[in-house]
Each structure stands twice: as structure tokens, then as C-alpha cells.
């Protein structure tokens, strides 16, 4: 009997095994600490340094939905870093990102939202443009002639964030999230080389070995290679205490969310309208709100209360910032509006505004929970890797044993 034949199983069992090895740890999120390597640290330092010198950051998002699982966490970590430090960023989209523009803008809006940053003043998005090498060359010469307008059609000269930047060399750090070696080489040859820029890359795991000689030669200053790179970046952010939302535990945030909502409901200003808002909620949320009312805000400890107060402040502060254009986009709002009778219609904007605050706060809550998405994902990764390594080692042991036995057999 050959020992190795136990490995001759149907490959579907292998598939199921991998699937479970990845899924189970995901159900029980347990982020493992990651030790950042030098390339990731270099990127952090590069960006941090640029921000502290008052320089702006230039980013190029060149990922689309297929590679998003690896590259979106990178983009998120870097954007959080920039926004939390009060940095300003210009983001563009090129060749590989054509199909991902929606995702990019969503991500930027989410991150800006988390840290209360606004479009135009703190960041802007330059939509997809065809061309690869030429685009890099043009950017080196002039940003505005390459992209006269941003995604919303505003002149770059009228945007606060782009007002005093002319070309690539005016930025303190340039980060490219892309998926092919050719793109990396293009950026290095026509962007980094001529202007001696601080340039970092976020690349897919399988491209990382290919760019090794560029980090070696110092052309690349900072590299996030695959999901682990993103995880390590998140680790640095965590270590530096930048991720403010992390200070709240998810439970705290949930209570803050609910308490703020209940206070709205019990608010005499909201009085009769509260009912309509209440009706617009899902039963699960209603139940949770009732719980908070019953359990009471007072059961929380002092530290949590301070945090909640701070969080509430942030929410309240943001109430007035929401532009009216946003109001029409809120879906639950439509429902409420349709429920309102004529007499109340004039007050509808206020309610809607509040609803958006709730929604946005909810989003921030979700964001806080997925703050370390890459780190959380590294746990299933680790487990799958270890399982695979053990399987390979065991399989080889069986194979070698079989071979030795066969040899012995044939000698006899």
C-alpha cells in the first residue's frame, strides 16, 4: 500500500477544506499582530513626513473590482492615515482602474466621512483617463493641463486642494496602487526618475517579487506587497494610535449610536415627527433602541460616556455640513418624506438631515469594526497557509517514505 495514496483524494475535498479554513476564522474575527517590514515602514514615514512638512500627497488608484480584495485595504489604510493626520490628497485614476471608479469614490467618501474631511478642501478625485506612459509624462510636466477638471467638472484652479500644486514634483509623496509591473516601470521611468520623487507602490502579491530590484536600488521608497502589506500598514496606524475610531469598542459605538438616536426621538423638537422616523426603522433596530432605553445610558462606565459625548459632538457638528444635494440621495428619507403630510413637509429637510446623520454615524460604526480589515483577513490567511504547508510537508514525507521503501523493495 502506498502511503501517498491517501493524498489521491478527490480535489473537491481539498476545495472544501480551503473554503472552511478561510471561512471559519472569518466568522470569528481575531486580528493577529503583524510586524511591519521595512518597506511598509518607509511608506508610513514617507507619507507622515510629507504631511508634517505641509506637503500634499498624490495617489493613483489603478485597481478594479478583480484586484480590490487585496488593494482596497491598502487604499483605505493610506487614506485613513492621511485624513487622520490632516493631510491633503489628490487622487487620480488611470489604465487599470477604469472599472473601479465607483469603488474609489465610495472609499474616499467613507474615509473622509470618518475623519470629518470634505471634498475639495482635503481631497479631490480625478476621473479615469486613457493612456498610460503619456499620462505619467504629462503629469510630470503639468497637472492642470493633463486634468483641467476634477470628477465633478470643477476647474482644478478653483479647488482648494489643487490650487497651489502645478505638477508631480510639488507633492510630498506619490503613491501608486497598481497591478502590473509595466505600470510600476512606467511610473519609475517617467515619474520618479526625472523628478527624484518620493514614490511608493501598493502592488498585488504576485507582482511583489518583480519589483524587488527597484526597492533594492532605492527607486521605490515604500512598498505594500499584497494584503499583508495593507495589514502591516494598519498595524502601524494602530500602534501610533491614529485610528481614533478604534478607541471605541464596537459595543460603545453601538450604544452611542442608539443613545444619540433615542435622544433625538425624545427630543421635544422632533416630537410628532419622531413617530415617522420610528416607522422608517427596521424592527431589529427598533428592538435595539428599546433595549437602550430600558437598560439606560447610565449603566455605562465613565470613560465610555466621555467617548460617547465626544462622538455625539462630532455627529452634531456634522449636522450642518451636509449639503442639500446629499439629502435627496438618502433612501430611507424618501420613505419618510412620502409619509409626511402636507403640514409637516416644510420640516422634512431637518428630519432627513438627521436621518443622514444617523446613517452616516452607522457607517462610521461599520468602518470602525472593519478598521483592520486586512489584519482581520490575515488570520484566515495564516491558517490557510499553515494548513497548506503542513499538507505539503506531510505529502512529501509520504512520498519520500514510499520512494525509500520502493527502492528497498527493488534491491531485494
Amino acid at each position: 500500500m502506498k502511503l501517498e495514496s491517501i493524498f489521491d483524494v478527490d480535489r473537491r475535498f481539498v476545495f472544501v477544506g480551503i473554503f472552511l479554513a478561510l471561512l471559519i476564522p472569518m466568522l470569528v474575527p481575531y486580528p493577529l499582530p503583524c510586524k511591519p517590514n521595512k518597506d511598509v515602514e518607509n511608506m508610513y514615514i514617507g507619507i507622515d513626513d510629507a504631511i508634517s512638512r505641509g506637503k500634499k500627497i498624490f495617489l493613483s488608484f489603478e485597481y478594479d473590482p478583480t484586484g480590490a480584495a487585496e488593494q482596497e485595504p491598502m487604499a483605505r489604510a493610506v487614506m485613513r492615515h492621511i485624513f487622520s493626520r490632516g493631510g491633503k490628497a489628490v487622487i487620480m485614476c488611470k489604465s487599470g482602474g477604469q472599472q473601479g471608479q465607483e469603488m474609489h469614490q465610495q472609499l474616499l467618501a467613507d474615509c473622509a466621512q470618518e475623519y470629518g474631511r470634505s471634498y475639495g478642501a482635503d481631497y479631490c478625485y480625478l476621473p479615469y483617463k486613457p493612456g498610460s506612459t503619456n499620462l505619467v509624462i504629462n503629469l510630470g510636466q503639468s497637472l492642470r493641463s493633463t486634468w483641467p477638471q476634477d470628477v465633478g467638472g470643477t476647474d482644478l484652479a478653483d479647488l482648494e486642494v489643487t490650487r497651489d500644486v502645478q505638477r508631480l514634483a510639488d507633492f510630498g509623496y506619490v503613491m501608486i496602487i497598481c497591478s502590473s509591473l509595466t505600470t510600476v516601470v512606467d511610473w519609475l521611468t517617467y515619474g520618479q526618475g526625472p523628478y527624484n520623487l518620493n514614490m511608493g507602490f501598493g502592488v498585488l502579491g504576485n507582482v511583489t517579487p518583480d519589483v524587488a530590484n527597484y526597492t533594492n536600488s532605492g527607486q521605490i521608497k515604500g512598498l505594500l506587497g499584497g494584503l499583508i502589506g495593507a495589514a502591516q500598514y494598519e498595524q502601524i496606524l494602530l500602534d501610533k494610535g491614529i485610528n481614533l475610531m478604534r478607541r471605541f469598542s464596537p459595543a460603545d459605538l453601538a450604544s452611542a449610536h442608539m443613545v444619540s438616536f433615542c435622544s433625538r426621538l425624545s427630543d421635544p423638537e422632533a416630537d410628532g415627527l419622531g413617530r415617522y422616523v420610528w416607522d422608517a426603522l427596521s424592527p431589529a433596530t427598533q428592538a435595539a433602541v428599546r433595549d437602550v432605553i430600558k437598560e439606560g445610558y447610565d449603566n455605562l462606565n465613565a470613560a465610555a460616556k466621555t467617548d460617547i459625548a465626544a462622538a455625539l459632538n462630532r455627529v452634531i457638528m456634522r449636522t450642518d455640513v451636509i449639503p442639500d444635494a446629499e439629502l435627496s440621495k438618502a433612501k430611507p428619507g424618501h420613505q419618510v418624506a412620502s409619509l409626511l403630510d402636507g403640514q409637516l413637509k416644510e420640516r422634512a429637510p431637518q428630519i432627513l438631515r438627521r436621518l443622514i446623520v444617523e446613517k452616516e454615524f452607522g457607517k462610521a460604526l461599520v468602518a470602525a469594526q472593519s478598521a483592520g480589515q486586512a489584519m482581520t483577513w490575515m488570520t484566515p490567511q495564516s491558517i490557510a497557509h499553515v494548513v497548506l504547508i503542513v499538507a505539503i510537508l506531510f505529502g512529501n514525507a509520504c512520498y519520500l517514505y514510499d520512494r525509500a521503501r520502493r527502492k528497498k523493495h527493488s534491491q531485494i
Binding site: Q166, T189, Y190, P194, N206, V207
Partner: protein, 516 residues
């Protein structure tokens, strides 16, 4: 070893303490800007001889000028060089400096000055800040400024290049005075336009926009030097906001060049390579004896693999990767396809060729048809067997792996340039227990082919493959020529590395590419 930036910077710190203090002082402006009202005084006393030289940038298309001047040992870390530029008489540079400090608040004032200004012609200026970065606290190294050694394509590898600054003027900011004026209706403005045009003070006159009133505007343009036109330059050094040096005026004419001399080594290398490879091909055709080509594992197995497919009556799959006809590996793959199709025709099996690029498909169709005809089986050819699947790689791999599963491929060939679809295809093939032979120069995908396929042609083996299969003297000769080229290269590398180790850079410099 005449470059000690640390020492120079330390010395400069000591010598320039007053200036140095200003950047350590947080109240001082970070970037030194020329003081308003500074005029460029061209009297002889003010020239401290910065030694500015201007020249046409060699080896370009006539839109570049090089400026170079000697480096001073005592440059403070916050030294800033400004280049003034004009395309007219150099004497007028003084007026330029006046213009450049105009800010938005003075726009209206400017209109009043229009009539009173000096009668000069169109002029513009540029300001190039070379060392705008403030060094970190405590660092003794002066910030990097472009040196001649940064432009080996222009100045070569001479040692003294480190002693000169150099910048390339290919694009420069230009500030134009734009006069917005209603030139059609108003008699008075028409008169003004005439006068302004005659004096040539304003660079541009544009008709008024909606709701605009007559005004003078300062607009920034970026511009490239135009060929065969004289440009004048002057240079001033500003340290901590104070002008500490000025140069004489230099001029240059950008010229179109007919040969890029910095690519001479490339041209020679190209000729040497080409002559060796073609000579060997030629000799081999004349004298096709004694041509040896080493065994290439994967290709030995082609016959065996096809034989087994024939035995089992299963179809053969040939997959082109997503590479197009411009990729050399695709051309090699098409050649291999021709050779394989011949044997497929002999065995009388069915071969499916799946393509991701329609031009590749067309060529493959003819290749297969000709191969079948050559072995006397033109009837075996069916246009639908060599087909384009889709241009999307994942749709392609889904479709092809589906086909391989359904039709139980007996043998699969993966030749060409591959991306991530390599594993999807070859793993599917491994499950159908097909004999698989792969060949690609896509470095990333080779490990997957090695683990899942029976044989893999690694990178260059792929190029040699068609020579190996056909044994055509010309091809085999070319392979031999390529080996000779590699041997020469290895010799150059060893000699070069040894010389570099002992400190002789000259030999290595012969082979350095001078541009990106």
C-alpha cells in the same frame, strides 16, 4: 573622491551662520521669495560672476536648453537659484523683474500704468527654484541640487561634473499679462487696444467675457522653448530672502538634432548583435553541418503526448495566451503551432486552437491550414477549430477550461504570453489527466506551469523551440549566434565587474545607457 557633501555643508553652515540661523528660526519664511520691488540691476558692480552658461541641449528635438554654472563651496542649505528668462533683448530683463512681482491686488493699478510703461516688446520670465526644501533640523547635508553628473547624456561621466550645477529648460512657467477688453463696441477701448498693441506690453488681448469689466490679468502658462529662436537667461542666487549673487546674461538657441549621440553605444550594440546573429544564420544556411542544439525536455515529449491523445481518441488543445502579435513569444508560439499541427495532421487527431486575440487567430488559422496541407490532410482543417474565444481573459479561461472538461482534453499545449489564467487552464488540464506542455516567457507564471504541467519551457527555451523542432539550419544558426552574443556579454560582465571592483569605471561607462 572629490565630493564631500557633508564636509562642504558643514563648512558652509559655519561660514553662513547668519543665513543659517534664519532657517532655524521658525518665524523666517520657509521658501525665500524675492522681495517685492527688487529690480534686476545690470550695472557691472552687481555681477558677482555666477558663471552662467547656456547651451542648446544636444541630442534633442530642439525644445531644450541646458544651463550650467559652477557650484560654490559655501552654498547654504537654503540657497535658492532663480533663473530669469526672456526671448527678446537682454537689456530689458530689468523690466521683467518689475512685472513678476505684480500680484492680484495691483491688477487695477496696472491698467493705469499701461500708458506709462517703458516701451519694450513682448517678454516673459521664469522662476526656477532649485532648493526649495528646508532641510531637517540637525542635518548637515545640503539639499540636493541638480548637477552636471545628473545629465550624463549631455556632459558625460567626467569627474568635474560634480563641481557644476545644471538644469534643463524643457518646460517653464510663463506669466502673461492678459488684457480683457471689449474690442468691438467701445471707441475708447479700441484706441487703448491700438496703443497697447503698439507698445507690446501685454502678451494677450482677449475679448470680454459675460459680466466682465476691462481689466488686466496675470495668467500662468507653461511653455516649451521653440526651436531656432534665441533665448536669454540670467541667474540670481537668493539666500534667506536676500539676493547674494547675480550672473551675466547668457543666450542659447535650441536646435533640432539629427542624431542622438548619447545613444551611440546602443547603436553599436545593436549592429554588433544583429551582425553576429544574422551572420550565424547565413553561415548555417551555407554550411548546414555540425549544428548542434541541446535537448529541450518539453519538446522531446511532444510526439509522445500527441501519440497518447491519438491512442485515446481525445482532442488536443492549444492555448495562446493573451499576448498579441507584437510579442516575440507569440510569434514563437505560432511557429510551434505550425510544427505541432503537422504532427497532429499525421496522427489524424482533432486539435482545437483557442485564441484571445483575433489577429493571432487569423495567423493561427493559416498556419494550421498550411500545416495540414503540407502533410496531405487539407480536409482535416476546419475553420471552427481555430477560433477566437473572447478578448476578456477571465471569460476566456472560463470558456476554455469548460471546454477542456467537457471534451476531456488528452493533450494540452500552453504556448505564449500568459497572465493569471495560466493556472486556471493548466490545473483544469491536470484534472482531466491531460499531458500538458507549457512554454512562456512570463516569469510569474512559470512556477505554476512547473507544478501543474508535465513539461515546461522556461523563458528563452521557448524562443529556441521552433529551431529545435524544425532543425531548419537558418533558425538553428540564429540560436547559435544568440549563444555567441551571450558569451560575449558574460565576458563583458566579468571584465567590467573586476575593473569596477579595482576602481576603474571607464570600461563600465561604455555600456551604460545614458537615459532612462
Amino acid at each position: 573622491m572629490n565630493r564631500h557633501p557633508g564636509f562642504i555643508a558643514a563648512l558652509s553652515l559655519v561660514l553662513m551662520l547668519p543665513a543659517a540661523r534664519s532657517w532655524a528660526d521658525p518665524s523666517a519664511p520657509a521658501d525665500a521669495k524675492p522681495l517685492p520691488g527688487t529690480t534686476y540691476d545690470l550695472s557691472a558692480e552687481s555681477l558677482t560672476g555666477l558663471g552662467l552658461q547656456a547651451m542648446d541641449k544636444p541630442n534633442d528635438n530642439g525644445t531644450g536648453i541646458m544651463l550650467t554654472w559652477p557650484r560654490q563651496g559655501w552654498e547654504a542649505p537654503n540657497a535658492l537659484y532663480q533663473v530669469l528668462m526672456g526671448d527678446d533683448l537682454a537689456e530689458r530683463l530689468d523690466a521683467l523683474v518689475d512685472l513678476k512681482v505684480i500680484d492680484a491686488a495691483r491688477r487695477d493699478e496696472l491698467l493705469g500704468q499701461l500708458g506709462a510703461g517703458p516701451g519694450q516688446k513682448r517678454l516673459f520670465w521664469v522662476q526656477e527654484t532649485l532648493a526649495s526644501e528646508r532641510p531637517k533640523e540637525g542635518s548637515a547635508v545640503a539639499p540636493p541640487m541638480p548637477l552636471r553628473s545628473d545629465y550624463p547624456a549631455v556632459f558625460g561621466f567626467k569627474k568635474e561634473n560634480d563641481g557644476y550645477h545644471a538644469i534643463e529648460m524643457i518646460k517653464f512657467k510663463r506669466d502673461d499679462l492678459v488684457l480683457h477688453i471689449d474690442r468691438e463696441t467701445n471707441d475708447e477701448t479700441r484706441k487703448l487696444v491700438k496703443e497697447v498693441e503698439a507698445r507690446g506690453l501685454v502678451n494677450q488681448i482677449v475679448p470680454l467675457g459675460e459680466g466682465e469689466t476691462t481689466k488686466v490679468d496675470l495668467k500662468q502658462f507653461s511653455d516649451a522653448p521653440k526651436h531656432d529662436r534665441t533665448y536669454y537667461f540670467a541667474l540670481q542666487r537668493v539666500e534667506a530672502g536676500v539676493v547674494t549673487g547675480r550672473s551675466e546674461i547668457a543666450s542659447a538657441v535650441p536646435k533640432d538634432n539629427w542624431f542622438a549621440w548619447h545613444k551611440l553605444n546602443l547603436l553599436i550594440a545593436m549592429f554588433v548583435l544583429g551582425i553576429i546573429i544574422m551572420a550565424f544564420a547565413w553561415i548555417a544556411r551555407r554550411n548546414p553541418t555540425g549544428l548542434f542544439i541541446r535537448r529541450i525536455g518539453g519538446l522531446e515529449a511532444v510526439d509522445e503526448a500527441l501519440g497518447r491523445a491519438a491512442e485515446m481518441g481525445k482532442p488536443v488543445f492549444f492555448c495562446h495566451g493573451p499576448g498579441d502579435l507584437s510579442a516575440v513569444v507569440t510569434i514563437s508560439a505560432i511557429n510551434l503551432l505550425g510544427k505541432i499541427a503537422e504532427r497532429v495532421g499525421e496522427y489524424g487527431i482533432r486539435m482545437k486552437v483557442t485564441c484571445l486575440d483575433y489577429l493571432v487567430m487569423q495567423v493561427s488559422q493559416e498556419m494550421v491550414r498550411d500545416a495540414y496541407t503540407r502533410v496531405g490532410r487539407p480536409d482535416a482543417y476546419n475553420d471552427d477549430d481555430v477560433f477566437f474565444v473572447t478578448g476578456d481573459t477571465f471569460a476566456y479561461s472560463a470558456a476554455v477550461s469548460g471546454m477542456m472538461m467537457r471534451e476531456k482534453a488528452g493533450t494540452a499545449f500552453f504556448f505564449g504570453r500568459f497572465g493569471s489564467e495560466s493556472l486556471l487552464l493548466s490545473e483544469t488540464g491536470a484534472v482531466t489527466k491531460a499531458i500538458q506542455i507549457a512554454g512562456t516567457d512570463s516569469f510569474n507564471q512559470i512556477p505554476f506551469f512547473i507544478t501543474t504541467c508535465d513539461y515546461t519551457l522556461i523563458a528563452e527555451e521557448m524562443y529556441a523551440a521552433s529551431a529545435y523542432l524544425s532543425r531548419e539550419p537558418r533558425l538553428v544558426g540564429a540560436v547559435k549566434g544568440q549563444d555567441v552574443v551571450k558569451a560575449i556579454m558574460m565576458t563583458i560582465i566579468v571584465v567590467g565587474a573586476v575593473l569596477v571592483t579595482f576602481g576603474f569605471m571607464g570600461f563600465a561607462h561604455l555600456f551604460w545607457p545614458l537615459t532612462n
